[in-house]
Symmetry: C2
Subunit: 217 residues, 2 copies
């Protein structure tokens, strides 16, 4: 497939993405691919892998169904692409060394409840949605474990504590809390959690995360 062409289209974004439609003016494979990935991520995250159909994804993206197989090989290929993009967007944020546990916690809360971008919490949900495919599931599992290690490392660094087994477990509990929270808020939409404001959630979450991740107590 040709690849040298227009990479700089909407990647860096000043773009503030007005993207409801993401005007696919002409025929542009890259734009089509991105539109598909974005529509797919929303569907996969909110409805799960099996429940979302390729025809729905294509309709959301305003694209012909056959193009999914052309550009991603299969539905599972599209799912893998979605997860890889999630990893790419998640990794730099977690790799950046934090100066304190509070900063790590603040970053977590930013992703989960404060939601600068409406799709940010959904990215995390992808890590819970199984595709049933062993390959994609392995990626998913490994991503979660890497995420754990980075979170534990960030927490341990600030106290100069080696990432021990208990610390890994505590980091994974923090992730479990975040994932369960997003799940209940966006997928199940249980009240009053779903309609709670960020201010109502930050204070209790902060104290809980501090108990889990702060090794100084």
């Amino acid at each position: 497939m040709g690849k040298e062409v227009q990479e700089s289209k909407a990647l860096d974004g000043g773009a503030t993405f007005a993207d409801d439609e993401l005007v696919r003016s002409g025929r542009d494979a890259d734009v089509t691919r991105r539109a598909l990935v974005r529509a797919a991520r929303r569907r996969f995250a909110t409805e799960g892998y099996r429940a979302t159909t390729v025809r729905h994804i294509a309709a959301d993206a305003g694209v012909n169904v056959a193009l999914i197989n052309r550009y991603f090989g299969s539905k599972e290929g599209l799912f893998e692409a979605c997860m890889n993009r999630t990893v790419d967007e998640l990794d730099p944020q977690t790799r950046a060394r934090a100066s304190s546990v509070d900063e790590v916690i603040a970053r977590l809360l930013t992703h989960v409840v404060e939601a600068p971008n409406a799709d940010d919490p959904l990215q995390l949900l992808l890590l819970l949605r199984s595709s049933g495919d062993e390959n994609a599931d392995a990626i998913r599992r490994r991503t979660l474990e890497r995420f754990t290690e980075q979170l534990a490392a960030a927490a341990g660094w600030s106290a100069d504590v080696p990432a021990s087994q208990p610390l890994l477990l505590r980091a994974q509990m923090a992730i479990a809390l975040m994932l369960g929270l997003v799940m209940l808020r966006t997928a199940t939409e249980v009240q009053p959690l779903a309609s709670a404001s960020a201010e109502q959630l930050t204070e209790p979450l902060e104290s809980v995360l501090r108990v889990l991740l702060d090794t100084r107590n």
Copy 2:
């Protein structure tokens, strides 16, 4: 030439839940119904609603597929039956008035990590699995909210504090933590959380739940 417990044939390569006990000796509608519900709950909880097929459930239960529609009307009817049974088993435990917050926490941990019955954690997962049907989903949502209120009440009682909005949110965070935990342990099977022992998990979980639910601090 009774078929006794017929093994689930290799419908897919994956692990199948052979229903070991509960031998359906003769033709007994009640036994059949129970076998179906139990097999269905395991499948629904671990693989989600859409991903589980009625043929898999029937094979697990050692029962003909058509009996699902005979006894439960439809796949969704079976799902509702599963959830109702979960509610019935969950309700008395949460209704029982606790003498202290620690007792409430101990009960939660019993359900989630100590697992006297291997299916206990899976029951909770059912509350996260959407069927896509609006009716079943409403039941699910309402069950979660009732569960929240009872948990908040149990926590508030011990300190004679009225169940306020923040307390409800904190109770729901505790539920989110539990659900995420079970999800990562049983469905995603992420390490080291999945193979962690109950002793490794109880101590951090206790302190976290105390921060969330104990109104005395």
